[in-house]
Subunit: 75 residues, 7 copies
Amino acid sequence: MSGRPLDVLEASLGERVSVRLKSGDEYVGDLAGYDQHMNLVLEDVAIPIDGGVEEEAPVEDTTIIRGDNVVSITP
Amino acid sequence: MSGRPLDVLEASLGERVSVRLKSGDEYVGDLAGYDQHMNLVLEDVAIPIDGGVEEEAPVEDTTIIRGDNVVSITP
Amino acid sequence: MSGRPLDVLEASLGERVSVRLKSGDEYVGDLAGYDQHMNLVLEDVAIPIDGGVEEEAPVEDTTIIRGDNVVSITP
Amino acid sequence: MSGRPLDVLEASLGERVSVRLKSGDEYVGDLAGYDQHMNLVLEDVAIPIDGGVEEEAPVEDTTIIRGDNVVSITP
Amino acid sequence: MSGRPLDVLEASLGERVSVRLKSGDEYVGDLAGYDQHMNLVLEDVAIPIDGGVEEEAPVEDTTIIRGDNVVSITP
Amino acid sequence: MSGRPLDVLEASLGERVSVRLKSGDEYVGDLAGYDQHMNLVLEDVAIPIDGGVEEEAPVEDTTIIRGDNVVSITP
Amino acid sequence: MSGRPLDVLEASLGERVSVRLKSGDEYVGDLAGYDQHMNLVLEDVAIPIDGGVEEEAPVEDTTIIRGDNVVSITP
């Protein structure tokens, strides 16, 4: 199980991650925390414009995402 | 796991938070309580008008939200 | 966690509460019981007319609501 | 938690109950059994005609309903 | 809890049962086994024609149905 | 509980099974493994053409199916 | 239970796998990790073009997929 999912999250703390939700929404933010349900804490959150990662519309300082909404997390 | 999701909720007690639900509805209120399922207690609850946080239509004094409806919580 | 969701339910026993379900339905009734899943027992249940709480169409004496249908409970 | 949901079910054994499902279907029958998941056993089951409880189309002698389909139970 | 759901299933072993699924599909077969999740084993399985129980189109010798698909089981 | 669902799966190891998913998709393959969640391992997997079991379009050597997608398994 | 699903995942570490999600999306990547929920870590992730495995559009270096989105994994 080398590189378990939660280990990768732990290693990504402080890094910018992209989170895709089941609703189709995407959040980009600095990963500030998580738990075993993949509940996430993001900081300096932005929503990508036109699916691009270069331009971002700032949204909120801190956002908690409930894990059961998550499809994928890309550090 | 610095800054776990429930720790951020604990630190947000008494603060105004915005809660997005899977239905697309949004609640804004003072966070008065929560539990490990992210069931929430909000007070002085309002629903943002036109998605804006400035103007709010007052709704209810206290509202319990069942956690499995929650997408995100923004303190 | 001051004012946990289940504590607010406990304090609301005997009071009239409004319960919104995921189906969009709303029940108004006296909260007669609950459990840790937010399964609820309502008495003197009514369904609000036109979303108003003043006028109510009486429905049933007692109704058990399974908790996983609940979006929010407003005492 | 006076009048917990399962206590109300226990007190309703042998009584005629109306069960609403997430599919919108409704069953009326004598409550012959249940368990902690709100799985139910109904006997002399009927489906209300035009949503009325007076006229009923008989359906089956005994029906087991899996609890996760249940919205509400009205004794 | 007299006549709990799983007791009724136990008493129905070897009998012909009708199983309604959340998809709307219906299976008729001899109940050969079950477990606590209401996973079922049916034998001599048929699908009712026009919703009738008299005429049946034979389908399979043995079918395992995962319990979370089940709405109701009628012995 | 004679002939429990997992016992039938155990007895079907190495046999060709047909698996119907909630999406409506169907997989046919040799059952190479399973676990208590009904997660499955199929080998020499094919997808039936026109719902028939005679003609099959080969798809993959080995496929793991997550159990919560499964409707039924027919050995 | 020879060849349990998680054993097949363990044996597939480092190999290229194709993951189909409930949304219909498909990811192809090197399996770098997993856990008992079938949460997955993929590296050198690509999305197949026109459903083909030959041509791939590169997407991300590393992606964590939450297990409850997974339909099937093909090593």
